[in-house]
């Protein structure tokens, strides 16, 4: 056990050191990307082709309409590609997917969720994967970053009617951040053994006289953006547990870092753009604290290995790969659920009750430690607004954050933001059991594990979908009309309702002037604010989800 503690600390320290080293240069680089008046030549050509004037900024409703139009077109294209899959090149002889599965998958990849109701090995050909899904892996991540940057501009601008230009933000996120880093990441993964070919399935005779199937595919290119864009959709069913997606312990560490690097550097971008780096540091500090606590709890739960099956086997190794071991699995599992990635290198359904519960709790916290690319930053800034308001109520100060007054309109939008996803999670779970016809389908067809664990599978599915995570208690058979439709709606509303509230808030903040700092201003860069912010995050989540957690993982783990 002591050896495990040291191995855990050494791996966590590696992550911390690399993120600290990258924080400043990457954060400053991204700030430059979004504030520079210069366009690259290739970008100027692109703007001309799509008919956009890069110099003109948009009001928040126009910014939102651009996002919605871009996402709607994306959903239609990915839907159509799946429906005509058999006539596309490299379809591997696979037929078109059903209407409800195509609906679900199209929404899933456009909303940066990457929930997979299907098993990719036997459902999707190469063209749908690389020309449909992987494109959305890039641009859905770019949308997330754009929305975060628009909110930051709300704080940075004074008396402005605009919050930036979506097309410029999306293009720069893609071409200056996501694409170059993905090329680099893909090359590193290739060196580690991730495959990149168009060979299809290859059958070979083994030395024991049997046969074996070796899959192929353009995996490395998809793997890089799957992690860097906190998307999470695997090329193969087993996702990052598959040796062709994640072959070694060191590629596992690389994958963990790819998920964390942009979301952890964005607070620096934020601090830089509002002209006070300490503000960014306070946000990053909050994220880091929450991450460290969460990963320690999950690792403890899995090493402890409570539960009948783990005790009988001697360790919680069901669903885990030998090369990663328990620690490599829990650090990946925490990273994937506390960002919005949802990739898995071990099967969360087979985790101990409390370990699997931690994965779900990470998502319920709102995925903001550090959260998805962009969505993590705008998520935690919405909670920071609530924290400032709570502090204001306690000491009788007028709430303000970064020189912007937090009035009735701002609080309404922040409240709607924190209510939107829990409503989808709880309503979706409740309806799955409340509608009689659905209930019998859910319990007889979809649920895999009996008892409380089966309930947790459904709760996890809606938690994952509404928060755009995409991981699953994968025993659940989600490829049914009910789950494909209900989870599709949850993903859609769980992505775009919060974006509406964030952009509306950005618009109303940008309009305000900046009030000067006085003795009465609550400092939001000190450790006290970090503690307050952590407290608000925990209280909001606990009040919302404790009852339903008690029905699932807590009951299973404690009884």
């Amino acid at each position: 056990m002591t050896a495990n503690v040291w191995l855990f600390i050494a791996q966590l320290a590696t992550i911390a050191v690399i993120l600290v080293l990258v924080y400043r240069p990457l954060g400053d680089y991204m700030a430059m990307v979004f504030t520079s008046p210069k366009n690259l030549r290739v970008e100027r050509g692109f703007y001309r082709l799509i008919g956009v004037n890069a110099a003109s900024e948009q009001s928040w409703p126009a910014y939102l309409r651009s996002i919605l139009a871009f996402s709607a077109v994306g959903i239609l294209v990915v839907y159509a590609m799946q429906r005509v899959q058999e006539i596309l090149p490299y379809s591997l002889g696979l037929p078109a997917t059903s209407e409800h599965l195509s609906f679900n998958t199209a929404i899933s990849f456009v909303t940066n969720t990457n929930w997979q109701s299907y098993s990719p090995d036997v459902t999707l050909g190469y063209t749908v994967q690389f020309a449909g899904l992987a494109v959305q892996n890039f641009v859905s991540a770019a949308v997330g970053i754009a929305v975060a940057v628009a909110l930051v501009r709300g704080f940075a601008y004074k008396r402005s009617g605009t919050i930036g230009n979506f097309w410029v933000d999306m293009t720069r996120s893609t071409l200056r951040i996501l694409l170059p880093f993905s090329v680099l990441a893909a090359i590193i993964l290739l060196a580690g053994g991730v495959i990149q070919n168009f060979s299809g399935f290859q059958d070979v005779s083994t030395i024991a006289g049997g046969s074996a199937t070796i899959p192929g595919g353009p995996v490395a290119s998809q793997e890089a953006i799957k992690l860097l864009g906190t998307n999470g959709g695997g090329f193969f069913n087993a996702n990052s547990a598959h040796p062709f997606e994640n072959p070694t312990p060191w590629t596992n560490m690389v994958q963990i870092l790819l998920m964390l690097v942009i979301p952890f550097a964005l607070p620096r971008t934020f601090g830089r753009m509002v002209g006070d780096n300490r503000q960014g540091l306070a946000i990053a500090g909050t994220m880091a604290t929450l991450f460290a606590v969460s990963v320690s709890l999950m690792t403890w739960a899995e090493l402890h290995g409570a539960g009948t099956a783990p005790q009988l086997a001697g360790a919680a190794m069901e669903g885990k790969e030998d090369r990663f071991g328990i620690i490599g699995s829990t650090i990946f599992g925490t990273t994937s659920t506390i960002t919005s990635t949802g990739a898995v290198n071990s099967m969360h359904d087979s985790f101990t009750s409390l370990g699997g519960g931690m994965a779900m709790l990470n998502i319920m916290l709102g995925e903001l430690a550090p959260g998805g690319v962009g969505s993590g930053l705008y998520g935690i800034l919405m909670i920071a607004i609530i924290a400032v308001f709570v502090a204001g109520l306690m000491v009788g100060r007028t709430p303000e954050y970064l020189g912007k007054k937090i009035g009735a309109r701002e609080m309404k939008l922040a409240s709607l933001y924190i209510l939107a996803t829990p409503t989808l999670v709880l309503a979706g779970t409740a309806l799955s059991f409340a509608i009689p016809a659905v209930r019998s389908d859910v319990t007889s067809t979809s649920i895999w594990n009996p008892g409380l664990h089966g309930f947790t599978e459904v709760l996890y599915a809606f938690t994952s979908a509404a928060n755009n995570n995409g991981s699953a208690f994968a025993g659940l058979t989600a490829n049914t009309p009910w789950f494909n439709t209900a989870l599709g709606v949850a993903m859609l509303l769980g992505r775009f309702l919060p974006i509406v509230f964030v952009l509306a808030l950005a618009g109303s903040l940008a309009k305000q002037d900046r009030v000067p700092v006085t003795n009465g201003t609550l400092p939001t860069h000190r450790p006290q604010f970090v503690v307050l912010l952590l407290g608000v995050i925990v209280i909001v989540t606990a009040l919302t989800y404790f009852p339903v957690l008690a029905l699932g993982p807590l009951a299973e783990g404690l009884l």
């Binding site: 651009s66 694409l179 399935f201």
Partner: protein, 201 residues
């Protein structure tokens, strides 16, 4: 009126943007990575294939089952972990079992596997490591723990009429340590071990 034409303009921009980005991100990017992979890392990009006498017999990254046509474990080969991929180690259907920690089917499966190993290898249940009786996440785990490999030495040596000490030292030579000394866990690659075993006299 202006909103409707405005929305039309947004949509037309979106269509053109997605079309161009699909070419760049969906076609040029994966083809460029394929070219880099095939030129700079051809062995890895094509699946880390393992050859014996010039014939491909598998991938060092994809686990295989070592059973006869009826699914019975072949005692003369080191056995892989249990697998939930298809009927076991189906490279076309990667999957974990997704059994929860209290699932009675999993509990029964662990008991059955322990009994089978105990009988075939003549060890007590307490000596059997966890990875020997649990299915991996991918169902294609190419590795077993050093403990599970060492446990199988006597059975394999007996089935092949080899000296147990020779087989044991072969296993020990095939143990891979943690990456950089602290990442992951020590493992033994079953395919590479069995290939080396087949040349042992």
């Amino acid at each position: 009126m202006s909103t409707i034409s405005g929305q039309f303009r947004h949509t037309w921009t979106a269509i053109r943007a997605l079309a161009i980005l699909t070419v760049v991100l969906g076609i040029i990017f994966p083809l460029a990575i394929t070219a880099i992979g095939q030129v700079a890392f051809p062995a890895q990009a094509n699946g880390s294939l393992v050859k014996v006498d010039g014939k491909v017999v598998g991938s060092s990254l994809i686990g295989q089952s070592w059973v006869d046509a009826d699914g019975n474990a072949l005692p003369e080969w080191f056995q892989s972990r249990p697998s939930a991929a298809g009927d076991g180690y189906d490279g076309g259907a990667s999957s974990g079992s997704n059994y929860g920690p209290e699932n009675p089917d999993l509990i029964q499966a662990i008991k059955d596997r322990q009994a089978a190993i105990s009988a075939s290898d003549g060890v007590s249940v307490a000596q059997i490591p966890a990875d020997a009786v649990t299915a991996s996440g991918s169902g294609l785990d190419p590795h077993i723990s050093p403990a599970y490999a060492l446990l199988q030495v006597d059975r394999v040596a007996k089935a092949r009429g080899l000296d147990a000490a020779d087989v044991k030292s072969l296993v020990e030579s095939k143990i891979q340590g943690r990456d950089l000394g602290y990442l992951g866990e020590p493992t033994v690659n079953v395919l590479q071990l069995n290939i080396a075993l087949s040349t042992l006299k």
